[in-house]
């Protein structure tokens, strides 16, 4: 049973560029959440997608956008990259079962903005 996968594993961009990160959820999961983790900090919630719509959003600017496809995979897009966007970007998938929903994380994509 494949877990959550993310691509690419590493990425280097320059300020002002745009980036797209991809996530495939764990088999059977229908919900995808995205997190940003700066060095030495805990992950911060960006947003969550369910049924191809953004269900919740954290305190991130509109430069951060996403999409969920019919097969439940998801993309995170970041426009006009800033140096401060350098971080580990984590995707987590989940499925509501028995009234609760546990998130399982992928390995992350390390983004470096120069």
């Amino acid at each position: 049973d494949a877990g959550v996968t993310q691509s690419p594993t590493h990425l280097i961009k320059t300020r002002g560029q745009q980036v797209t990160l991809r996530c495939s959820p764990k088999s059977g999961h229908d919900t995808v959440s995205w997190y940003q983790q700066a060095l030495g900090q805990g992950p911060q919630f960006i947003f969550q997608y369910y049924e191809e719509e953004e269900r919740q959003r954290g305190n991130f600017p509109d430069r951060f956008s996403g999409h969920q496809f019919p097969n439940y995979s998801s993309e995170l897009n970041v426009n006009a990259l800033l140096l401060g966007d350098s971080a580990l970007y984590l995707c987590a998938s989940s499925l509501l079962i028995g009234g609760k929903e546990t998130q399982y994380f992928g390995p992350g994509t390390r983004l470096l903005v120069l």
Partner: protein, 114 residues
Amino acid sequence: LAKTTQPISMDSYEGQEVNITCSHNNIATNDYITWYQQFPSQGPRFIIQGYKTKVTNEVASLFIPADRKSSTLSLPRVSLSDTAVYYCLVGDLGGSSNTGKLIFGQGTTLQVKP
């Protein structure tokens, strides 16, 4: 969302039992307690989850007192490979507007020494 407080760091030796306590005084009736483990540059790994009393799986035990205002993650006979950051999270895992929005704190950095 309930806030959690846990020690910033802990040291242990191989073969010892490690107990990490998390305080969550404002836990709500529908909140579950979830613990994740994270190694450097990897995504958090789900360890254990509980609502009340005691939960045990193949890697850890979770003790939750009757008032649920704290919880203790117990790792039996730790090894060097258990050196990681451990996060305690509290939240409603299903059926509310806050579903899916995991709030991570700083976590507890556990250092296991030989």
